[in-house]
């Protein structure tokens, strides 16, 4: 049934259909609407057999989920940005223990400077934690991926992050096809843990492991991710058959047949990219795009196949590894090893900076014309950078950069005005 609904609400209603037994909540923008809606559903009795716990920090939120999951309960929480960093230790721990927790990330920038808007810095910081990471492209997929996430998590005993672009997706209102309880129950069986804290059959979970077996434990974490590469397409196919529409999968190609230029990106920006691809196709460019849904494990083979015989690849990514450049690009480059296909990285949309069709168009045309640098910062305000660097070269105590840049913006705006 199609319903015009805020994506956060759609996520909450979908999570509720997954019959979570313990939900831990700590507020942080932009995921807060999700747990607010769940609190309401639990309070109103719409979501039963569920403990909703307001905790004192994100570290506690995930720790409560860890305890609940180890005791055999289906556990869910949501966070973003600083919150994800604050729980970082528990993020690694949940994966190391193999607990199938599902957590929504309302993707948001990391400070300083503090910024509540969307980019992928937060989930990227946890890419090596051992969690499966799925990136939603649309409001519909933002909701759907949670059903897939619980199924994959419990199948593999591995936690899953569903990454949803903050504001762009979390706060948008679009028609979403909300699925039925019956279909979810048929798709997602009751949680049968591989390990559980039970007084009747006591086990020790979380023992210390030294050099004699640590490598093997870590290898098994890698092995689990490789299994996810097989399991996610299968379960996504089953999802499509059950619910009648497609969501998830490892990646999706868009007009890549015969494409000489292929754009690779994560999340909601793919919508804009596809519109630009359409425009350029109309003008005769051989261009297509790939939306990577499953970022961890990284689908090397599927991406290599999708890129095929393309002449160039452009990665548009909402994260930055200072000192090297792109993060997603590094993985794409691994997929391109043994080929001579050049790769271009565009850092775009950091801290909520709008990624416009016009800018993307210029970027893609630049690549086609052979004038694009290997690393580009899309729409970088070079005059601001110049002014700041000059200030630093002139004065030792040049002051806090963020404040200076904002002052410069006002100054430049006044000059234009």
């Amino acid at each position: 049934m199609l319903k015009q609904v805020e994506t956060s609400r759609a996520i909450a209603e979908t999570v509720a259909l997954c019959r979570p037994e313990v939900i831990c909540a700590y507020p942080i923008t932009p995921q807060t609407h999700i747990v607010e809606a769940l609190a309401e559903m639990v309070g109103a009795g719409q979501l039963q057999h569920c403990e909703f716990i307001n905790v004192e920090s994100e570290f506690a939120a995930l720790s409560v989920a860890i305890g609940a999951s180890a005791a055999g309960a289906r556990a869910y929480t949501a966070t973003a940005s600083q919150g994800l960093l604050f729980m970082a230790e528990a993020v690694y721990n949940a994966a190391g223990l193999g607990l199938p927790i599902v957590m929504t990330i309302g993707n948001r920038a990391i400070g300083a400077p503090i910024n509540i808007w969307n980019d992928h810095s937060d989930s990227m910081s946890m890419r090596d934690a051992g969690w499966i990471q799925l990136y939603a492209e649309t409001p519909q997929e933002s909701a759907d991926l949670h059903i897939l996430a619980f199924r994959v998590a419990e199948e593999l005993s591995c936690p899953v992050m569903v990454c949803v672009d903050g504001f762009v997706l979390t706060h948008s209102y679009e028609p979403v096809d909300l699925v039925t309880q019956g279909d979810v129950d048929a798709y997602l069986p009751a949680f049968e843990p591989r390990q559980v804290l039970d007084p009747a059959d006591p086990v020790s979970i979380g023992a210390m492991v030294g050099p004699e077996a640590f490598l093997e434990v870590r290898y098994l974490a890698h092995h689990k991710q490789l299994r996810a590469l097989e399991c996610i397409p299968e379960l996504s196919q089953e999802f499509r058959e059950r619910f009648g529409h497609a969501s998830g999968g490892l990646l999706r190609t868009y007009r890549t047949e015969g494409a000489e230029t292929i754009v690779v990106a994560l999340g909601s920006v793919n919508g804009t990219i596809q519109e630009v691809v359409d425009d350029l196709r109309r003008e005769g460019s051989a261009i297509g795009s790939v939306s990577v849904c499953c970022y961890r494990p990284f689908p090397l083979a599927a991406l290599r196949a999708a890129i095929g015989e393309a002449k160039r690849v452009i990665v548009v990514e909402k994260s930055l590894a200072p000192g090297i450049g792109g993060i997603l690009s590094t993985d794409v480059r691994t997929a391109l090893s043994h080929t001579s296909i050049p790769l271009f990285t565009a850092i775009a949309g950091l801290g909520g900076r709008a990624i416009t069709k016009a800018s993307l168009r210029g970027l893609f045309k630049g690549a086609e014309a052979g004038v694009l640098d290997a690393l580009t910062f899309l729409d970088l305000h070079t005059e601001l950078i110049q002014r700041h660097l000059e200030r630093e070269s002139k004065r030792r105590r040049s002051g806090p950069p963020a404040e200076n840049l904002l002052a410069d913006i006002r100054l430049l705006a006044a000059q234009i005005g």
């Binding site: 037994e21 307001n54 720790s63 305890g67 309960a73 528990a90 006591p202």
Partner: protein, 334 residues
């Protein structure tokens, strides 16, 4: 009501004549069929107060809960010496997650038991003083404030022993640790106001908070048993000497712990909903010097030429405890 209703002390000793007591008044440890939750073969040092305290406490909890308990353990000595892969000394459903989150993990386990309709399964969180008074305090306070159905037991050995004896916020003034060396004008740990987690627990007005010591088995068992009969957030703070970290003879663990009580440095008391309901009076008051002299961490206070003001200041702390908790008053329930 305090721990033992009847005490049959042998003259001049603290030995309680078990054989004279009714069966139900026997200590859990006196039972050859005791649960032995922390069983032999673990890697704790000789004379480890924490191993002793953990076995006492959890055996009592097991007995009180009809063996239906799940334990969440903070990182620390107790976790490390009990579960070197692939061995485990725990004969109980046990989990270790992180250093600072034992209380929150326990909250999650308790929530799972509630939602699954298993109210008979009781949840215990435990950690050392570092995992409780320092890095775990946020999660602990959250658990208290929500009044989650968890008993948190802190085994306080007054420093970070697992990492090699560094100062924690439970380290007493003047104690030498690896990060509070006995050098300079104020030797050893500084004199602050301390940080009493039992008092902090009481400020949350949780149903039950108590202090206990490995020197008083019956009192400890009584308090754990009492805590297990209550639902909601409960806290028991157990004083557990560390022979290695304190520089005490392993055979003196119980003796040192008893002196901490008898000097007034470690008051034994119980509180319900934020109000102290009982305390253990000191039978034979001892000067703090007797306690300090047994421990090398205080040896610098007794060197020739050492400034006497430090021992006087520690005595002041004991005196304040005696005053504030009324430790010299007659036992009211006798």
């Amino acid at each position: 009501m305090p721990a033992p209703l009847i005490k049959f002390y042998q003259t001049g000793t603290f030995t309680i004549g078990n054989r004279l007591l009714d069966e139900e008044a026997l200590s859990v440890q006196a039972d050859e069929l005791r649960p032995n939750v922390l069983t032999s073969g673990h890697r704790a040092c000789q004379g480890c107060g924490e191993a002793l305290g953990a076995r006492y406490a959890l055996d009592a909890a097991m007995r009180a809960a009809g063996d239906q308990i799940i334990v969440a353990n903070a990182t620390g000595c107790l976790e490390v010496f009990s579960t070197p892969y692939p061995e485990s000394s725990w004969r109980v459903a046990w989990m270790h997650s992180l250093f600072g989150n034992a209380a929150a993990v326990a909250t999650g386990i308790a929530a799972a038991m509630k939602v699954k309709g298993r109210p008979n399964v009781r949840v215990i969180a435990q950690g050392g003083d570092g995992g409780t008074t320092d890095i775990g305090l946020g999660c602990l306070s959250g658990m208290f404030e929500r009044n989650d159905d968890v008993l948190y037991i802190c085994y306080d050995n007054e420093a970070y022993m697992n990492t090699g004896v560094q100062r924690s916020s439970a380290t007493p003034p003047a104690a030498r640790t690896a990060t509070t060396p006995a050098v300079g004008s104020q030797p050893g740990n500084s004199f602050g106001h301390g940080k009493s987690i039992p008092l902090i627990a009481m400020a949350h007005r949780i149903p039950y908070a108590a202090t206990a010591s490995v020197a008083d088995l019956r009192d400890l068992e009584y308090k754990i048993n009492k805590a297990m009969r209550i639902h909601g957030a409960r806290y028991v703070h157990v004083h557990v000497p560390c022979p290695l970290g304190w520089g005490a003879d392993p055979r003196d663990t119980v003796r040192v712990a008893r002196l901490a009580i008898e000097t007034g440095l470690f008051p034994l008391f119980e509180a319900e909903f934020g109000n102290i309901t009982d305390k253990t009076s000191i039978r034979h008051l001892k000067p703090v010097e007797e306690y300090l002299r047994l421990q090398k961490r205080f040896a610098h206070l007794f060197h020739s030429g050492a400034d006497q003001q430090w021992i006087i200041a520690i005595q002041e702390i004991a005196n304040r405890n005696i005053r504030e908790f009324g430790l010299l008053a007659e036992v009211s329930h006798a």
